[in-house]
């Protein structure tokens, strides 16, 4: 299951990480080594095994429907690289 350069680019696009053309080869090599190594999992017989999603064995607790958070726009916006008044600002998006 070797990754080709097109797949490396597709993955980078999905992950929104800019990859320069010169980097593709190196990344492809590294990822293929790692995936080659991970392939050892194919040896394991997992027939009938239910997947484990987490290390906790509890049922989920629920919060009450109470408004006890929010109301601090300045603290929400304080770290923003760009803002316009009480809004976050990004380059114009075309839908």
């Amino acid at each position: 299951m070797a990754l080709d350069p097109a797949t490396v680019r597709r993955i980078a696009t999905l992950a929104r990480i800019r990859v320069e053309d010169a980097e593709v080869d190196k990344l492809q090599g590294e990822l293929n080594v790692i995936f080659g190594w991970i392939e050892q999992l194919n040896e394991v017989d997992v027939t009938g095994v239910a997947p484990l999603t987490g290390a906790s064995h509890m049922a989920m607790k629920m919060r009450e429907d109470v408004v006890n958070d929010g109301g601090y726009p300045e603290r929400i916006l304080f770290n923003a690289p760009d803002r316009a008044g009480e809004f976050f600002a990004v380059p114009k998006v075309v839908e």
């Binding site: 919060r63 958070d69 809004f87 114009k92 998006v93 839908e95």
Partner: protein, 483 residues
């Protein structure tokens, strides 16, 4: 054959499935304690969780879960006692975490059904595939600045129920009826306010076309359609577009589109490039959602009577027509109003008054059933005045208008204006005497067999009595005197 579209190459059928996003009625968001109220100042109803700050974690709101279960029960659907939350991964300016917490593989509600009513009086069952809980995104404002988009996260993290229908819908009318019926059920349950203008209810419309007997062809998804009328229009224009594509020898591409109501067209949506690969996986910040059967049963026991059941009861118990019953049950508040008016009275007469003069006044004045121009109790007392013959039907309309105008009680208006019905036979006799004396030619005609003139005498007598004569007595006396 129902709805069909004629193309150059023959007749096409439209296949529609709807994904309705219904904002859950709750005080706080699905996974945070921030408020959900509509119309707040930007970013004031945002917690660090909603803005996906580093290290923040979701904790589920119990009422949102309750609302989803109630809705599932209201759609006669399977409630899944164990469900799970997954992350749907994609980048978008108003999606702070870079993923939406949703339910992909194991939704909280499974298969159900909605019965829709069509204009020809027929009904049709539309399958519901599933209902799941998910987070809403924030809001992007594209028109505030020439080169920037502004982001308000107030809506980010508000609970939505996504209700997915089977592709059972075959016409714009059915699509509209489905949305209206679903909206009605949600409002009855109190799980969504159904306010499409504020975006509490939005539909993604999946449309494809095919020729009779074919398998499904490629579908397109029209995102975020926000009124019943636009849903119906979007189905039609998208179907016509697809027919045109197929008939010009091309293929319809599976894609996400937007409906532009001003131009009446759909166009591809640029921002959905990752739609093919959302990389769903179980959200490791949350545990499985386990519902106790007893808890579900208790919610079921507490459900209100829903539109279908209410309609059947109105037809059965009150003898209403299917049409009147449908009109009265569409909104729970209307049904309540009607039942207050009808209680202990002539139900058909109550229905006629509510759907007739009352609705007319409400619409004319721009009022709502929650803020009615006349209270149900007062309207009931007006009906009582007719029943005990204090006033007749014609005077009742006059009294009703006075009630709308002044807000006074009907009995007070009747007294004030001296509208009490005349049941004194002496007074009626006197009026009849005058009319007969003044119209001797007509009396002669009547006696020579022109029966139709009877109505003329009734009308003249009532007019002479300023409408207050008891119609039955007037009739009786005239019959006797002319007979």
């Amino acid at each position: 054959m129902g709805y069909a579209l004629e193309g150059r190459t023959g007749t096409w059928e439209v296949v529609v499935g709807l994904e309705v996003h219904a904002q859950v009625v709750s005080k706080a968001k699905l996974f945070s304690g921030a408020a959900t109220a509509f119309g707040a100042e930007p970013n004031t109803q945002v917690s660090y969780v909603d803005a996906a700050f580093p290290g923040m974690l979701p904790v589920i709101n119990k009422v949102c879960v309750e609302q989803a279960v109630k809705t599932g029960l209201g759609l006669n659907a399977q409630i899944n006692n164990v469900s799970r939350f997954d992350r749907k991964n994609y980048f978008y300016a108003d999606l702070p975490a870079g993923y939406q917490i949703s339910q992909f593989e194991h939704p909280i509600v499974g298969k159900g059904e909605i019965e829709i009513e069509l204009s020809d009086g027929s009904t049709k069952a539309i399958g519901v595939t599933r209902l799941h809980l998910e987070q809403d995104a924030g809001k992007s404002l594209h028109d505030q600045h020439p080169t920037k988009t502004y982001i308000d996260l107030n809506r980010a993290g508000v609970a939505l129920m996504e209700i997915v229908s089977e592709p059972d819908i075959r016409s714009p009318e059915e699509a509209g009826a489905y949305v209206r019926k679903l909206r009605s059920i949600l409002r009855y349950l109190g799980t969504c306010d159904g306010n499409m203008e504020e975006g509490s209810l939005r539909a993604d419309v999946n449309v494809s076309v095919r020729k009779a007997g074919e398998e499904y062809r490629t579908r397109c998804e029209i995102k975020n359609v926000n009124s019943v009328r636009f849903v119906m229009q979007a189905v039609e224009v998208e179907a016509l577009r697809q027919i045109d594509v197929w008939e010009s020898g091309e293929e319809v591409r599976q894609e996400t589109r937007l409906f532009d109501p001003n131009r009446g067209v759909t166009r591809p949506m640029r921002s959905k490039e990752d739609a093919h690969d959302y990389r769903y996986f179980p959200d490791p910040d949350l545990l499985p959602l386990v519902l106790e059967q007893g808890w579900v049963d208790a919610l079921k026991a507490g459900l209100p009577e829903l539109p279908d059941a209410k309609k059947a009861r109105f037809i059965g118990d009150y003898g209403l027509s299917a049409y009147d019953a449908s009109v009265l049950v569409a909104e729970q508040a209307t049904a309540w109003f009607f039942e207050v008016v009808a209680k202990g009275r002539d139900a058909k007469q109550a229905a006629n008054w509510v759907t007739g003069d009352f609705f007319a006044a409400m619409n004319r004045l721009g009022r709502t059933i929650e803020d009615p121009p006349v209270s149900a109790e007062a309207l009931g007392r007006l009906l009582d005045l007719m029943a005990d013959k204090t006033i007749n039907g014609k005077i009742a309309k006059e009294v009703f208008e006075a009630m709308v105008e002044t807000g006074k009680d009907p009995a007070a208006i009747v007294d004030e204006k001296g509208l009490r019905q005349v049941t004194d036979t002496g007074a009626i006799d006197a009026a009849v005497d005058k009319i007969l004396a003044a119209n001797q030619d007509k009396v002669a005609e009547y006696k020579s067999g022109k029966d139709k003139l009877f109505g003329f005498f009734v009308g003249q007598t009532m007019k002479a009595m300023a409408g207050k004569g008891n119609p039955a007595l007037v009739n009786e006396i005239l019959k006797r005197r002319l007979g």
